[in-house]
């Protein structure tokens, strides 16, 4: 490794940081007297330009990265799944930036956008991270940003409460994660994911396998918190409810994409553990069945699958009882995380699982940004995210009602919307890895649970379309917000009708590898 390499690979992150600083300078130095709307406009546009620059600087097809001095192992990977996740993170960040325009939750626009961009930087970093320390630093950068964003609505009690809960849970889970990482380091003597995976097959580790299991559970707890998987999900409903809408959209989309990209990284390292050995001709590799609970992949798969089943069952059932749309979205996010974790529990050697997970999380992120945008519009007009605030929306704002129909049906997985393809893709990937009775039963459970989910999504749509409005005055949305929502809804429909588009786009990232 040399620092020029590191700098080259982290150019996108640098671009985002520079944009964050520029936003601060512009807002604090030049726009002190300007109107809130103008400041939001300038800050968002600067942020969007920063994201654009980051995309332009992304080493897309490099298929390389930064390695350690004197080793071929990567510290930060580029190209492939990392690049897809990074582009996704930046695009979703752009959308959440647009949602800031016209919002009134804070006077400190510059700080808000700067923190948001820095959190996105953390997301970019963990998408490519292959080293425990890089993972931890990136994760903390992301998380700290999210805690601040959640608390940004200073006049709202719920915002403070949500942020406090988020912070306390987050701090604890970071401690768990670090604890698990330290065990992994202790067992294998390395902080590199690939070396750890290989090291875990050595004899000394086998004799200490209880320690490995403790480490795995700790790591799962730390990462499960990030993706809001059961039983580490308790922060999600309060945070989703309390955070200002654009921040909630960011937490629900960008942070999820980044965290799942990290999980993909771990999964990929786990299933590709012997690839390099096979390539090195000096090592004779005895091919034979490896016992299932030796090494990393087997036990990890069990842990992740358990979390997945818990999440999809509890998330869907708890969502049935919600009366706040934000909390409903939070529980549905837990359920969706469960589906995705299932594909991470049954992870394929080929890129099939990786692509299925990315497809799901990117389209889910897109849909959920739209959902929070719609909630934000209703909140600004009705002052609440209760289901009853949505009554008769079709009459108050037909466009918004149509957008909500598309987004919520996509979340429920109704074809031909993109959410359906994501689910199909994901479940097909799981069955592609293992067609045994257990994965099949779990997939059947997941499909059944998505039938449950239709009920609560329809509860919202019922209020939007069926029931009469309590207050029939027209509901005006901010022009930019409505524009973003329409674009998202169109994307959900178009990507749903032509699912090959996104797959082809993702496929193009692997071309150089």
């Amino acid at each position: 490794m040399n620092y020029a390499d590191l700098f080259r690979v982290t150019l996108p992150e640098t671009a985002l940081e520079i944009a964050a600083l520029l936003v601060l300078v512009a807002d604090l130095a030049f726009l002190r007297k300007a109107s809130l709307q103008a400041r939001e406009m300038v800050a968002s546009i600067l942020g969007v330009v920063g994201c654009g620059a980051a995309v332009a600087l992304l080493p897309l097809h490099a298929g390389g990265g930064v390695s350690y001095p004197g080793s071929t192992e990567l510290m930060l990977s580029t190209g492939g799944y990392s690049a897809i996740a990074q582009v996704g993170i930046l695009m979703l960040t752009v959308l959440t930036l647009f949602l800031v325009i016209g919002s009134e939750f804070t006077q400190h626009v510059g700080e808000y956008v700067a923190v948001l961009l820095m959190a996105a930087t953390g997301g970019l970093l963990i998408s490519g991270a292959q080293d425990l320390l890089v993972i931890f630093v990136g994760l903390e950068l992301l998380s700290l940003g999210l805690y601040i964003l959640t608390a940004f609505a200073k006049s709202s009690e719920k915002s403070a409460e949500g942020a406090m809960k988020y912070y306390l849970f987050g701090g604890m889970s970071a401690a768990f994660l670090l604890f698990g990482f330290s065990y992994l380091y202790g067992l294998t003597g390395s902080t590199n994911l690939h070396e750890i995976m290989r090291g875990l097959y050595s004899g000394n580790v086998q004799s200490a396998s209880p320690l490995l299991y403790v480490a795995l559970v700790m790591v799962a707890a730390g990462l499960g918190f990030k993706v809001a998987a059961v039983p580490f999900h308790l922060w999600a409903p309060d945070t989703y409810e309390g955070a200002p809408a654009p921040a909630a959209a960011f937490i629900a989309s960008v942070s999820k994409v980044a965290s799942f990209a990290l999980l993909i990284g771990i999964g990929t390292a786990a299933v590709h553990v012997f690839d390099n050995l096979r390539n090195a001709s000096t090592v004779t590799f005895v091919v034979g069945p490896i016992p299932k609970y030796v090494g990393f992949a087997g036990p990890w798969s069990v842990v992740v699958t358990l979390i997945a089943v818990g999440s999809m069952v509890l998330g869907n059932l708890a969502a049935l009882a919600q009366t706040s749309v934000r909390r409903l979205l939070a529980y549905s996010a837990i359920a969706h995380a469960g589906y995705i974790l299932l594909a991470l529990g049954y992870f394929s050697h080929s890129t099939a699982s990786t692509n299925a997970v990315l497809y799901y999380i990117l389209t889910y992120g897109l849909t959920t940004v739209g959902a929070f945008g719609a909630v934000a519009v209703v909140e600004r007009n009705g002052g609440s995210d209760r289901m009853d605030a949505f009554l008769g929306l079709y009459k108050r704002n037909g466009l918004l009602a149509a957008v909500m129909m598309v987004l919520f049906l996509s979340l429920a997985g109704i074809p031909p919307l993109v959410g359906f393809w994501a689910k199909f893709n994901l479940f097909a990937a799981v069955l592609g890895v293992n067609r045994g009775v257990v994965p099949f039963t779990i997939v059947a459970l997941a499909v059944a649970m998505s039938a449950v989910s239709l009920y609560y999504y329809l509860q919202v749509l019922k209020r939007v379309f069926v029931m009469p409005a309590a207050d029939p005055t027209p509901m005006k949305g901010n022009l930019v917000t409505m524009g973003v929502l329409v674009v998202i809804a169109l994307a959900v429909v178009v990507l749903g009708c032509l699912p090959g588009l996104l797959q082809a786009w993702m496929g193009s990232f692997y071309a150089g590898m």
């Binding site: 079709y394 149509a402 049906l409 109704i414 074809p415 031909p416 359906f420 393809w421 199909f424 893709n425 479940f427 097909a428 069955l431 592609g432 067609r435 099949f440 997939v443 059947a444 499909v447 059944a448 998505s450 039938a451 239709l454 009920y455 329809l458 019922k462 379309f465 069926v466 699912p499 090959g500 797959q503 496929g507």
Partner: protein
């Protein structure tokens, strides 16, 4: 050409959704134009396809990486059911002529539902079929929840959840078949040729059959049907009974029986004479026939009578399918057409012609109104429709039920005996409803007698007459000259039974 039925329906739905609100007449005429065009295309496609086997209409790669293709094709069965859909859609629009609230949206959802139904009947890729099948769920929910009557929100949600649970079961079967076949294709033909292992078919068949059967009113999963039919606005109950239940039956035939024929093989052991999934589903179908008829006999709400009669009649379809005999399956397909027309007509008379004027559907209250004299059009239309529903010769139901009974006699005689009892009860409940609603002698009690004389009913409008005539003509035509459909159905059934889909 038939593919255009799908495209124009969805395009029509989209245009109606975007049309400026407030001009109900324009929306109606536009919807009628779209539905009638679809019907015309269906007739032309039916005529052009006479004597041909399966004709591929469109075949494009859709999701290349997963082997999913956009395959639309039509064989004799599809063409008949597309014809039925066009007929039901046109009649449905005519019977919805009096919808005044949110007219644009009503017809937009209506046409979206129709588009999905056309799509299911024409898809020859399992995946595409499933997509269209699910597209049909959402409009049903809104049609009932917004424009419905009695407990509409409950009925709409129940219908949506039942449909979605059914389609979830189908999705599981689909995923499993896709994963097991390993052929990297979801084409119906490819999957049928994939030599799926018998052990797999043994559990996939009941899963998918029940999944589709839920929508076909398979007992004991039929309970959505009466509540849904009763709550739905007239056009929606016509579509529900007329074509949506046929989606389920069609799925049972095309997907469950077509892809997993070995699922019907004997288990090798038997319990109380039940030795295969075929016996199980035949038993459920027979129970559905008798149970539906008995419950219809006891109803006090006119529309519930028709709702339960649908369960009974759909039992004939399912029974015909599991006979696996040429004549039985042919009869089942013909019964799909026949019931689609007759149930549509019955629901239209009860829900539109009678209810919109009397504002009650309670048979006891109708009894006092002497509708036979005051609404002769409704009475005569119901007499004809009732005769058709009872399965009198000269109407389509006769040929269809006869074929199903012959087929089931060939398979297992006791099925026929039980189903025959169902027919007898069918005569009874139709007669009872007819007599009570239209030809009762009961004089109104003093408290029922209105103070200012009996109100004059609105005159019968031309759309009602036109649509009634259309439906009666269809059932009589098929009843008198069944070959018009049988020539098309028989070869398709033969090839389907002979070798699955090959």
């Amino acid at each position: 050409m038939l593919a255009w039925t799908i495209y124009i329906s969805f395009a029509g739905a989209l245009i109606l959704a975007l049309m400026p609100k407030g001009n109900a007449a324009l929306a109606r005429w536009f919807a009628l134009a779209v539905a009638a065009t679809g019907f015309a295309i269906a007739i032309a496609g039916f005529a052009a396809g006479a004597g041909q086997g399966r004709v591929t209409i469109v075949d494009l790669p859709w999701v290349a990486s997963m082997g999913i293709r956009f395959t639309l094709a039509a064989d004799g069965i599809s063409r008949v059911l597309v014809l039925l859909t066009g007929l039901a859609a046109t009649a449905g629009v005519l019977f919805s002529w009096n919808i005044e609230t949110r007219t644009n949206e009503f017809f937009a959802f209506f046409l979206a539902l129709i588009g999905g139904v056309y799509g299911v009947f024409l898809s020859f890729d399992l995946f595409l079929l499933f997509v269209f099948y699910e597209i049909a769920i959402v409009p049903k929910y809104f049609l009932i929840a917004i424009w419905g009557s009695t407990r509409r929100e409950y009925a709409a949600m129940k219908l949506a959840l039942y449909s979605f649970v059914g389609s979830a079961m189908v999705l599981i079967g689909l995923l499993a078949a896709y994963a097991t076949s390993g052929s990297h294709s979801t084409g119906l033909v490819d999957l049928a040729n994939a030599n799926l292992p018998v052990s797999f078919q043994m559990w996939a068949f009941p899963l998918v059959f029940i999944g589709f059967g839920i929508l076909a009113g398979l007992w004991p999963f039929h309970t959505w049907a009466p509540t849904g039919h009763v709550a739905a606005p007239t056009a929606a109950s016509m579509l529900l009974a007329g074509v949506v239940m046929k989606l389920g039956a069609y799925g049972c035939l095309r997907v469950a029986i077509g892809l997993f024929p070995h699922g019907l093989d004997a288990w090798g052991w038997s319990f109380l004479g039940i030795g295969s999934w075929r016996d199980v589903f035949a038993l459920l179908a027979v129970i559905g026939i008798v149970y539906g008829a008995l419950v219809a006999l006891a109803q006090s709400d006119f529309k519930f009578v028709i709702g339960y009669s649908s369960v009974s009649h759909m039992g004939f379809v399912l029974l015909g399918l599991v006979t696996l005999k040429q004549i039985g399956v042919t009869g089942a397909v013909l019964q799909m057409f026949s019931h689609g027309v007759i149930a549509g007509l019955l629901f239209a008379i009860v829900g539109r012609v009678v209810y919109e004027r009397t504002h009650t559907r309670q048979l006891d209250e109708l009894e006092a109104m002497h509708l036979g004299k005051r609404l002769p059009f409704a009475a005569w239309a119901f007499v004809i429709a009732g005769c058709a529903s009872m399965g009198l010769p000269g109407f389509s139901g006769f040929i269809a039920e006869l074929q199903v009974l012959v087929g089931s006699w060939n398979a297992k005689p006791w099925w026929t005996v039980a189903a025959g009892i169902g027919i007898v009860i069918g005569v009874a409940y139709t007669w009872r409803a007819l007599q009570k609603a239209f030809f009762s002698d009961r004089l109104p009690r003093p408290d029922e007698h209105p103070k200012e004389g009996w109100p004059k009913f609105d005159p019968i409008t031309w759309p009602e007459i036109a649509a009634t005539a259309l439906l009666i003509a269809a059932t009589v035509l098929v009843g008198v000259y069944p070959r018009v459909l049988l020539d098309s159905i028989e070869p398709a059934v033969r090839s389907l039974l002979a070798g699955g889909m090959q």
